[in-house]
Subunit: 192 residues, 2 copies
Amino acid sequence: MTKAGQLEEGNASKVPMPAGSNKGISVMDFVSRLVGIAGTLGAAIAMGTNEETLPFFTRFVSFSAEYDDFRAFRLFVIVNAIASAYFVLTIPLSIVHIMRSAARGSRILLIISDTVMLALVTAGASAAASIIYLAHNGNNSTNWLPVCQQYGDFCQAASGSLIGSFGAVVVFLLIILLGAIALSRQAKRHVV
Amino acid sequence: MTKAGQLEEGNASKVPMPAGSNKGISVMDFVSRLVGIAGTLGAAIAMGTNEETLPFFTRFVSFSAEYDDFRAFRLFVIVNAIASAYFVLTIPLSIVHIMRSAARGSRILLIISDTVMLALVTAGASAAASIIYLAHNGNNSTNWLPVCQQYGDFCQAASGSLIGSFGAVVVFLLIILLGAIALSRQAKRHVV
């Protein structure tokens, strides 16, 4: 442990501090963020490189589909790229939390920014999911035909990339939960 | 540190609160939840009663549209109804927080459940938004035609109901922020 860490603990443990009670939580937070990077980066790349050109003529006007044709998919790529960068940027803070269990302000900051990112990623993933659902099933009222028969690979890649993104949503829920638990333990610890 | 703060420290949390330090936050939380009820309930009703039958024949196979034809819209109604009920159920807890600023456990519980609801409502609103965008603009690659020329009123009502739902998203972000701030103040107060 670093000198700063010892000092920190020496200070906080006027009240008996259950040794490293928040350390396990912080390690889980760290690991979750790594999983989050993999999920969001994978989702962004899978969707961002997704295009399919049909090898034959159909009655459809255009013969190729790429993610950029759909606003929802473009949003999906942007949001997942942002979330991926966000995870990378918060890794150092997560490491600090492993070393300094008593950190409070930064934990609260992290909870709030995690919450905003949760909303962003959820929005991107759901918007894409509803388009993919439509592509699979079509809609009678509006006469939108299911296009996954034609664009099979495109649909499959798009559906696959959803997994990474919804995985990231779960990660965000988990790390917000972990953050709140860590905070609650600190609050308890300081009360006699 | 203020005098009230010192008093607080001396006797931990059994002592009556330092006047209104978290009371303002709790009142804002309460008011925000009322706004949230209005937003989600309005959104659910506006979307749930949304249907339009066209008075003329077109080349389309079916001549009416209602929210139930779209999975995303059905999800939207369900999610907003749930969120509305959730807001109603948490109002009493919010009132308790106004009276007992020191409540910690319930605040953390509320932050966590608010976060889950935030994800739910965001998912519903975004899924609906991406369908509405498609209805307005259509998509060339898949040959999905914009249908808002035909279903004008339907589109307008659906778009309108989005406002209430995204308003609720903002409310959730706000009350999570307020909860985190209230917690951080408590934590500070208990530290020497």
